[in-house]
C-alpha cells in the first residue's frame, strides 16, 4: 500500500514537472516569464553552489524554528491556563476572537518600528500567526475532555496536577498536535513573507532581490526551494504527530487495519 502511494506521488510530481517543461516550449506561456523546468533546475543548481544561498536558507530555518517553538510553548501554556480557569475563559474569549483574524502581515510596519529588519521582526510575525493555531486547538482539546472520566478521576481523589497529567493532557494532545502541524506550515509562510516584505535576511529577501532584478529563473528556483521546505516540514510534522500519538486510537487504528 505504502509503495503504491509513493509511486503515485512520484508519478504526479513527474507529470507536473513535465507540464512545466512543455508549457513554455509549446508557447502556451512565455518562457521569459515562466521558464521551463530545465532552466529552473539549472538556476537551482547555480544557487546550490552559492554560499549566500545556504546562509539565507539557514536564516529562514532559524526564524521558522525559533518562532514555532515560542508559539507552541506560549500557545500550550496560555491555552491550558485559560481553559482551566473558568472566569479567564469567559474574559478572554472575545479578545481572542478579535485578535485572531488580524493578518500578521498587517503588523509589518509595527515590527519594523520595533526591531528594524532583523530576525526579531520576523519572529514577531511568525509567533503572532502560529500562536493562534496552537491556542485555539488547545482550547478545543480541553473542551473535549470526557466529563465522566474527569468525575471518575476526581472521585478517585486525583489532584489537579494528576488530573491534568492523566485526563486532560491525553485528551488535548491530538488537538495540540494538529495545531503544531498547522502552525509549522503557517510559520514557514510567515517567515518567508516577512523576509520578502521587510528585507530581513533569508530566502524571502533573496526572492525579492531576484524579483526586482528581472532574474526570472532564479526567482522560480527560490520559490521551488520554499515549496520543498514546506513539503519537508509537513512530512516531519506528520512523523512527529504519529510518534507522539502512537498510543491514540486514530494512529493505532491505521496500523491495525
Amino acid at each position: 500500500m505504502r509503495g503504491a502511494n509513493a509511486a503515485l506521488g512520484t508519478a504526479g510530481l513527474a507529470a507536473f514537472l513535465a507540464l512545466g517543461e512543455a508549457a513554455p516550449r509549446l508557447g502556451l506561456v512565455k518562457a521569459a516569464y515562466f521558464p521551463p523546468t530545465s532552466r529552473i533546475a539549472d538556476a537551482l543548481g547555480q544557487e546550490a553552489t552559492d554560499g549566500a544561498f545556504w546562509t539565507a536558507l539557514g536564516d529562514t530555518l532559524t526564524g521558522w524554528a525559533l518562532g514555532l517553538v515560542t508559539a507552541v510553548v506560549a500557545g500550550v501554556v496560555v491555552g491550558l491556563v485559560v481553559s482551566v480557569v473558568p472566569y479567564l475563559r469567559e474574559a478572554t474569549a472575545s479578545t481572542i476572537e478579535f485578535l485572531r483574524p488580524i493578518p500578521s502581515v498587517a503588523l509589518i510596519p509595527l515590527a519594523v518600528l520595533l526591531y528594524g529588519t532583523e530576525l526579531r521582526s520576523v519572529l514577531l510575525l511568525v509567533v503572532y500567526a502560529s500562536f493562534w493555531q496552537i491556542l485555539v486547538q488547545v482550547l478545543y482539546g480541553v473542551r473535549d475532555v470526557d466529563p465522566v472520566a474527569e468525575e471518575t478521576a476526581r472521585s478517585y481523589g486525583l489532584g489537579p496536577w494528576a488530573r491534568t497529567r492523566h485526563v486532560l493532557w491525553p485528551t488535548a494532545l491530538p488537538y495540540v498536535m494538529t495545531g503544531v502541524r498547522l502552525a509549522a506550515a503557517v510559520a514557514l509562510i510567515l517567515a518567508v513573507t516577512a523576509e520578502l516584505v521587510i528585507g530581513a535576511p533569508g530566502l524571502g529577501a533573496r526572492i525579492a532581490v531576484a524579483q526586482s532584478s528581472q532574474a526570472v529563473p532564479d526567482l522560480y528556483a527560490l520559490v521551488v526551494v520554499t515549496g520543498l521546505l514546506g513539503l519537508l516540514i509537513n512530512v516531519g510534522a506528520r512523523a512527529v504527530e504519529r510518534r507522539a500519538l502512537a498510543w491514540h486510537q486514530s494512529v493505532r487504528g491505521e496500523v491495525a487495519v
Binding site: V112, T117, R120, A208, S212, S213
Partner: protein, 323 residues
C-alpha cells in the same frame, strides 16, 4: 550534552529578552555604536541600480577613511525604510523625493542629507519611461486618456510624472486610469495586454525594450530638467544628536556619487554584488545620473505638481527637508 543544550537555549532566550528590553532607548545615538574611532551606520536601501554609489564608495574606502562603516540593509520599499529610520533602527535610508515630501507634510521627522539619484535629463535616454508593447497604437502620452497605465505606487512620484507627461502632450491626466503594479511585473502585464502602458524604471525597462516595447515619453524628464529623483535621509533626531556623523556621511556620499558618475563600468560590476540582474540585461541598463548636489529647482517643480494632484496634506517645507 543535553543539559548543555538546554543551558544554551535558556541563555539565548535571556539574551534575546534583554535585547528586547533595551530597545526602548533606540532613539539615542549609541545605536550607531562606535568602536576605535569607527562608527557603524545602518543604511536602509532598495536593492536597485540607483544605490550603487554607496556600495562603490564603501569598496573604494570613501566611508572608511572618514571613520564610517556602512552596513546596508535591503528592503522592498519605503514601507520598511521610513519607519526603520524614524525609529532609529537605521541611521540613514534611501527614498524617492515625493515620499520624503509626503512624510514631511505629515510631520514625520525626516531630513534629507545627501543626494541619491537623478534623471539623466535626456528624453528617450532616461532610466525611467512610459512604455507600450510592440505594435501598440499609442504613440504619445496624450493617447493615454482613458487607458490603463501601471505605476509602482499610486499617488507617488511616478504618478506625478505620468500626469505631467500627459499634460505636456496636451491631454487630460484626470482621464488616465492608474493601476498599481510592481515594476518587475510590468513587462509581463504589458506583454499580455493587461495594461495599455507602464511607467517602468531599470532593469524592467531594459526587459520591456528587449521585447520590442517602445517608449512614448520620458516622464521624469518631463517633470523637470535633471530631476532629483531620490535622496538619502535620516531622522531629525539623529541629525541633531550626531551632526558629525551626518557630515561625514554627506562628504563620503558626495565623493562616492562623483566617482560613480565618472566610472560607469565599475558601477555595473558592483551592481552584480547585491542584485541578481542577469549580465545580458545589465549591459543594456541605462544608469541614472549621480550629481553630488540635489537640484532644488527640480524638487520645487515636483512639489508643485504633487500639490496640484493633491498628494500633500499641507505643502512640505523644503527648507526644513533639504540639507
Amino acid at each position: 550534552m543535553r543539559r548543555l543544550l538546554a543551558g544554551l537555549a535558556v541563555g539565548t532566550f535571556l539574551v534575546t529578552a534583554s535585547a528586547c528590553g533595551s530597545s526602548d532607548d533606540s532613539g539615542t545615538s549609541d545605536k550607531g555604536a562606535s568602536s576605535g574611532g569607527t562608527t557603524t551606520v545602518k543604511v536602509g536601501i532598495i536593492p536597485i541600480v540607483d544605490v550603487a554609489p554607496l556600495y562603490l564608495g564603501r569598496q573604494k574606502g570613501f566611508y572608511g577613511k572618514r571613520g564610517l562603516k556602512l552596513s546596508m540593509t535591503t528592503a522592498q520599499g519605503g514601507a520598511a525604510i521610513v519607519p526603520g529610520v524614524v525609529s532609529g533602527q537605521f541611521q540613514f535610508g534611501f527614498s524617492n523625493m515625493t515620499s520624503l515630501m509626503i512624510a514631511r507634510s505629515q510631520n514625520v521627522p525626516v531630513k534629507a542629507v545627501a543626494n541619491g539619484a537623478a534623471s539623466t535629463g535626456l528624453t528617450g535616454k532616461d532610466f525611467g519611461a512610459i512604455t507600450v508593447k510592440k505594435g501598440s497604437a499609442l504613440t504619445s502620452a496624450k493617447d493615454l486618456e482613458g487607458k490603463k497605465v501601471a505605476v509602482n505606487t499610486l499617488k507617488n512620484i511616478n504618478e506625478t510624472a505620468v500626469r505631467e507627461s500627459v499634460r505636456k502632450a496636451g491631454g487630460d491626466p484626470s482621464r488616465v486610469k492608474f493601476v498599481e503594479l510592481a515594476f518587475d511585473q510590468m513587462p509581463a502585464a504589458l506583454d499580455s495586454g493587461q495594461i495599455d502602458a507602464a511607467m517602468v524604471v531599470e532593469p524592467a525597462l531594459a526587459t520591456v525594450r528587449s521585447q520590442g516595447g517602445t517608449e512614448i515619453a520620458s516622464s521624469l524628464v518631463d517633470v523637470a530638467k535633471d530631476l532629483t529623483v531620490a535622496m538619502y535621509f535620516t531622522s531629525t533626531q539623529y541629525e541633531q544628536k550626531n551632526p558629525d556623523v551626518v557630515k561625514r556621511f554627506q562628504e563620503a556620499t558626495a565623493e562616492s556619487l562623483a566617482y560613480a558618475d565618472a566610472h560607469p563600468d565599475e558601477v555595473r560590476s558592483v551592481v552584480t554584488s547585491y542584485t541578481k540582474i542577469p549580465a545580458a540585461v545589465l549591459a543594456k541598463v541605462t544608469l541614472p545620473k549621480w550629481p553630488a548636489e540635489p537640484n532644488r529647482a527640480s524638487i520645487e517643480a515636483l512639489e508643485k505638481l504633487g500639490e496640484q494632484d493633491g498628494l500633500f496634506k499641507s505643502a512640505p517645507d523644503l527648507d526644513e527637508l533639504l540639507p
